[in-house]
Symmetry: C2
Subunit: 249 residues, 2 copies
């Protein structure tokens, strides 16, 4: 048996740690491996001390850029061949991370929008469920428009209470409250006319497992996991989660 | 609020990747945190390409020592203050890892045997459920004897089919087969007179969730997670899993 050398992934994470675990879990589950050795080599930089991304973008908090850049350099030193970031909001500093690492960096929004191609989006209206920081940064809106979709945001009050509220609950480990809040948020965007929902904060896929919202939901973590496996050169498992993954993979 | 600087954990893992995820999950769950920033900073060296530990110890396979040492050096370079190893069998090379990293290294068997103190072990007979490599290395047996317990091993055929078999199934993602095999192994050691069962392979705690074996089971991953949190200087959550954790923590 010839052994293919798999590329080594550098995962910039800890923002928060549960979201990093969700991405890692999906990478392991979606890799078609029979032995340890066929799984992706990964260095994880799980640094929850990186200043809050949304607080920096919309609240005037400390910038996470220096620690993100330090993590990117550390991952390169640790032998990473490419980088992924297990936090949507941190992608606001995508260029900083790419420059600091001098490595290819997968963009989670590119992978999520690619995954939209595999589901039915009737009138093209795609709701973005994300932190206030990701919304303020605008990288999902611009990419959706470029791909021919109409970005749809929750009303400000729903964003604050349901979406941002759910994320805060999740980060504090208050799971029932988080699930209730996010299910209210999904109902709201569907009532506003969303044909699909982008789960564009890495904490959110943890919260929607029981929901049946009648429109496809794209799990950005899952899309990122697929992209990481492809980029490593490993084999992907067939993914039965049709509503969250394109059929063409 | 004064912010305590938490020590940075270097986790040597990927042996296999699911076991590493289980340890990480337990660290996150058992840390008493309300924000990301109160969670442990962790660098994970998840390298499934490290040669199989048991194959090296009992089958004449390639030694994992060079890659374990390289990982230990890499974790030190990445700023780790101390190291844990998310693989019981790899602890055969504990001295190599400590020498290569020049850092404190938590020994999973020390944490598991410490956890035994919190449960009732009537006649002192403790079964070791582990890989053939861990059994051959003997570091659990020697520590149990030193702590006043009587180590009890499965019969060779049960070791091969139930314990080693379950671990191989788990590494290949064949979960139902793995759970069936391990439950046969637990029944066997309880019938042989075990007063407590040490789950001394990091894959095993994933497989015993539904079992009710009438004797306490010590989850070495969980004991390791508690030790990592303590060593970091973070706050531990109260742990309701009485059968797996000492009350005194």
């Amino acid at each position: 048996m010839t052994q293919v050398r798999l590329k080594r992934l550098g995962l910039l994470g800890g923002m928060g740690p549960s979201a990093t675990l969700d991405v890692l879990q999906k990478i392991v589950e979606l890799t078609d491996a029979n032995t340890d050795q066929q799984h992706l080599p990964i260095i994880v930089w799980n640094l929850p001390q990186i200043p809050d991304r949304t607080a920096s973008l919309v609240g005037g908090g400390a910038s996470p850029a220096p620690l993100l850049a330090a993590g990117a350099r550390g991952l390169r030193q640790a032998g990473a061949d490419y980088i992924s970031i297990a936090c949507n909001t941190a992608h606001h500093w995508y260029d900083v991370i790419r420059a600091a690492s001098c490595l290819p960096v997968i963009h989670i929004a590119d992978t999520a929008i690619e995954a939209l191609a595999g589901v039915e989006v009737r009138r093209g209206q795609v709701a973005i469920m994300a932190t206030a920081g990701t919304i303020a940064s605008g990288f999902y809106q611009s990419r959706l428009l470029r791909a021919g979709y109409i970005p749809l945001l929750p009303h400000r009050s729903v964003q604050d209470e349901a979406v941002s509220g759910a994320i805060a609950h999740a980060k504090a480990g208050r799971w029932p409250e988080a699930v209730r809040a996010v299910s209210h948020g999904v109902e709201h965007v569907v009532a506003r006319g969303a044909d699909a929902v982008l789960l564009a904060c890495t904490e959110l896929p943890l919260l929607v497992r029981g929901l049946q919202p009648h429109v496809p939901m794209i799990d950005a973590n899952r899309a990122l996991a697929h992209a990481c496996i492809r980029h490593a050169g490993a084999r992907q498992r067939a993914d039965p989660v049709m509503a969250q993954e394109p059929t063409g993979r």
